[in-house]
């Protein structure tokens, strides 16, 4: 009962924040609405007992990516952009395309709903918490993808520095 209430609360936060993100005029307002939306999604992770992802969502998304976004918004002066037209001239086509995409995804989901299977029996609560179990899986079965991800982050760091630095020539 309480779960249901919390689900609708977080879902409202996520979807409402998302809608405000794409409709607000000023980019800073968009970023703040996106923070609300991400916080709602983080709450949904917590409801599904994904505690580690909840922490990652807060620290990385809200604390990392969104601060990066706000930083760039400050750096790139968007005051003049806020006064201009915010939407494309052919926004109806975009809306129709997005609606079609969503409808097709919903259709596919309803077609395949019988293959989801019944909810797995609640496993006996193991001794380890969510983070321990994830760490076991991540460092045993997924060790190579983990290392590749660190390589990807290294490339991203070097690339973003290279992109953003001033050309001195």
């Amino acid at each position: 009962m309480l779960d249901t209430m919390f689900f609708y609360m977080f879902a409202l936060l996520a979807v409402g924040g998302a809608i405000l993100t794409i409709t607000m005029r000023s980019a800073v307002h968009c970023a703040v609405s996106l923070i609300a939306s991400l916080a709602g999604v983080a709450g949904l992770y917590l409801l599904q007992k994904a505690e580690f992802l909840f922490a990652v969502q807060i620290v990385l998304y809200i604390g990392g990516i969104m601060v990066l976004f706000l930083f760039v918004i400050m750096l790139v002066n968007l005051d003049s952009a806020a006064k201009e037209r915010q939407f494309h001239r052919r926004w109806i086509g975009g809306g129709v395309a997005a609606g079609l995409a969503g409808a097709s995804v919903l259709w596919l989901l309803s077609k395949g709903a019988h293959s989801f299977g019944s909810p797995a029996a609640q496993a006996a609560p193991s001794q380890d918490g969510n983070i321990e179990q994830l760490a076991d899986l991540l460092f045993r079965e997924y060790l190579v993808p983990f290392e590749l991800a660190s390589l990807l982050l290294l490339v991203a760091i070097v690339g973003s520095v290279l992109m953003a630095k001033k050309r001195t020539s």
Partner: protein
């Protein structure tokens, strides 16, 4: 009157986030807001992964979500770097004014 939450609730929520993200991607003119829409789409994918992981009592979904977040971070860093370089050269962030490759 309040039904227990099943996986269908999460799937519908995920589709809503996806559609909002796609609309933002296609309709907005501001590059920064378009990149925020990409983050929304990636979040929709993550909600799906976690919901199915819970549904099937399988932790692999959460591992996948971690990798999705890692790739999203890399994408945001590179994308914002490109955005700064672009703004330095073109003095605009409106996508329909950036038409150098359009004939």
């Amino acid at each position: 009157m309040l039904h227990p939450i099943t996986i269908n609730h999460y799937l519908v929520l995920s589709v809503m986030l996806l559609v909002i993200g796609i609309i933002g991607m296609l309709v907005r003119r501001n590059v920064v807001v378009m990149m925020m829409s990409v983050e929304l789409i990636l979040n929709a994918a993550n909600v799906n992964l976690i919901a199915f992981g819970k549904h099937l009592q399988d932790l692999n979904g959460q591992i996948f979500a971690i990798f999705v977040i890692v790739v999203a971070v890399a994408e945001a860093a590179i994308g914002l770097g490109i955005l700064i370089a672009l703004f330095r050269n073109k003095e605009t962030v409106q996508v329909d004014e950036i038409d150098l490759l359009k004939w």
